[in-house]
Symmetry: C2
Subunit: 346 residues, 2 copies
């Protein structure tokens, strides 16, 4: 399922390379001599922890596959990675998560007030390098800013839906609702925007991005489905956060949605009670029970199969979007990402 001419190992090597580059670029932005001890260190923390740098890598590859240069992409790539880190900081506060990328979350280290403020700092710093980038024309900065605010708003819109489902203990969520929600919450900022921004920088235009956006949506959905699965399959060492966090939070994943729709009545009554209680009242034993139910009901297998279907559609969408794009390592990397999204273990 990794595209022709590129192995999963190759995809991972490209990601590692971009990851090192982006951390170095971000270090220049966030390490200021001004020295506010209650802001600078907090803003610099998450971006310096080991991460996949998936979003900048997609933007760099899309831009270069379509004839642009990596140099023109630098500030936009830094921008999306900083915004991603801003979302992670606030996500961790909202979920009261304990670990992120193998270390305690920012609010566990510095308290909630300073963490919320640092997340704001990351979100607003995100745009700074791009609007000051002398390589980019006024028109291009404006096009990218328009894309950026649209993307950010959809992400926050999707995040509100996911938080709302949990807060209201919503039970009637369908796989279609899930796909629609992650389309907003994850796909826009993880895959759609990086592809679109890369194309806009390469072509100086935001027209005819429909097929690229469709590829981005399906690629992002494959990413998110795998992300949810990794919560059940991964370990702290491998994934950098506590496994089963989603189960404890009652996050509406494909697995939970499947289980809610297929569980026998007695299990369903147990589930309704479990999901109606606050997170702190859910025990380790209950989390194990929930995982056992998912295994028995075939919910994990359901999500894996669902992800494979999305992956196949993503690969077709890639072929459609890149039909007339000449072969290059960048094009091959983007095609290879489909298999990576389905099979990755980090």
């Amino acid at each position: 399922m990794t595209g022709p001419g590129i192995s999963q190992r190759d995809v991972e090597d490209v990601l590692t390379g971009y990851g090192d580059l982006v951390r170095e670029l971000i270090a220049r932005v966030v390490r200021r001599p001004s020295g506010n001890p209650w802001l600078d260190d907090l803003v610099a923390d998450y971006p310096q922890r080991p991460g996949k740098a998936l979003r900048p890598a997609i933007m760099f590859a899309a831009c270069q596959a379509l004839g642009g240069t990596a140099e023109d992409c630098v500030t936009a790539a830094v921008s999306i990675e900083l915004l991603h880190n801003a979302f992670l900081v606030h996500d961790d506060v909202e979920d009261d998560s304990e670990l992120r990328r193998g270390s305690p979350t920012l609010h566990r280290l510095h308290g909630m007030p300073l963490a919320v403020n640092a997340g704001d700092g990351l979100a607003l710093l995100a745009l700074e390098p791009m609007v000051h980038d002398a390589r980019l024309s006024h028109r291009l900065v404006r096009l990218l800013s328009e894309e950026f605010v649209t993307m950010a708003h959809r992400t926050i819109d999707g995040q509100a839906t996911e938080l709302g489902w949990r807060q209201d203990a919503r039970l009637s969520v369908t796989p279609d609702d899930y796909l629609e929600m992650i389309g907003r919450k994850s796909c826009w900022y993880t895959t759609i925007y990086p592809l679109r921004a890369g194309a806009i920088i390469a072509t100086r235009s935001n027209s005819r991005l429909g097929e690229l956006s469709r590829f981005g949506y399906l690629l992002g959905a494959a990413f998110q489905i795998r992300d949810d699965l990794l919560d059940l399959l991964g370990s702290v060492e491998q994934f950098g956060k506590q496994p089963y966090g989603d189960l404890r939070e009652g996050k509406r994943t494909l697995m939970l949605i499947h289980l809610l729709r297929s569980a026998p009545p007695s299990d369903r009554a147990w589930l309704v009670d479990y999901l109606s209680r606050p997170r702190a009242d859910r025990t380790d034993a209950e989390v194990s029970t929930l995982l056992g139910m998912m295994n028995s009901a075939g919910s994990i297998e359901f999500a894996i199969e669902y992800g494979r279907g999305i992956g196949a559609a993503a690969y077709e969408a890639f072929e459609a979007a890149f039909r007339s794009v000449p072969a290059s390592s960048h094009r091959a990397f983007l095609g290879g990402l489909v298999g990576y999204m389905l099979e990755r273990n980090v």
Copy 2:
């Protein structure tokens, strides 16, 4: 102390007029048919509560005093008011405040996770109308975006310092430290940016804004000193939030700084203990004791006098910045704001 040709009543009438206009403009931005119940209502809440709309009013007046039109200012004015509301939402979360503009704070109404997310929504929505405004050239949008991110970053920087002082129970803060901190936390987004953005829109240039920025800094400092005083003088009916919130939080105001530097040793020992404890451990009786100490030590009178000195300097800075600007109602309003900042009761 209200400038020549304008009474405090006139200043308040102008503010009321801009307030109604800005609430109507914002309603068009935040009331979307998309209808996410966990985002739209939350984003629309604070901007629709009664507020002073001080920041848009300053921007409209500066732009028109310098020869620009109100129409060119509309989206930038909406933008700063939305950002202000974003800061209020996150401020209230960070301080766990109970009331804002006379009603429960957003996180008390909807829970912390959805409130943090809605604050993010307000901050990122803020830029949307401006980047899409067809009246503004690409170059002007870029100039304004550069100003916007600079201003937002300084605000968050100042906020980090204030939160850090409290979190670390810092005792050695001086009036100069306070002025420097509010210069970042309050003045940039309340007065300096609105004046600068109004001037940039009117003149299509960001050069020669030094005198205007100095006026903005002093005007904003007068505003913040009065804001801190109103916490001691105001009531819920009048001010829309619980009085003495700053005392309970241990906020480093001029009054507390003065008291820490002038209290007799026994009072100082009591203060050090009070400030070292978490907010929840401070009783109503202790808050009354603290207020009594400030009265006895002349700390409130000190802050009022300090504010008057800042106000006099602000008025001189106004005269310098507007020396060659022709007389108009807009110019008179800006000069009149100095007295308003010192005397306002809301």
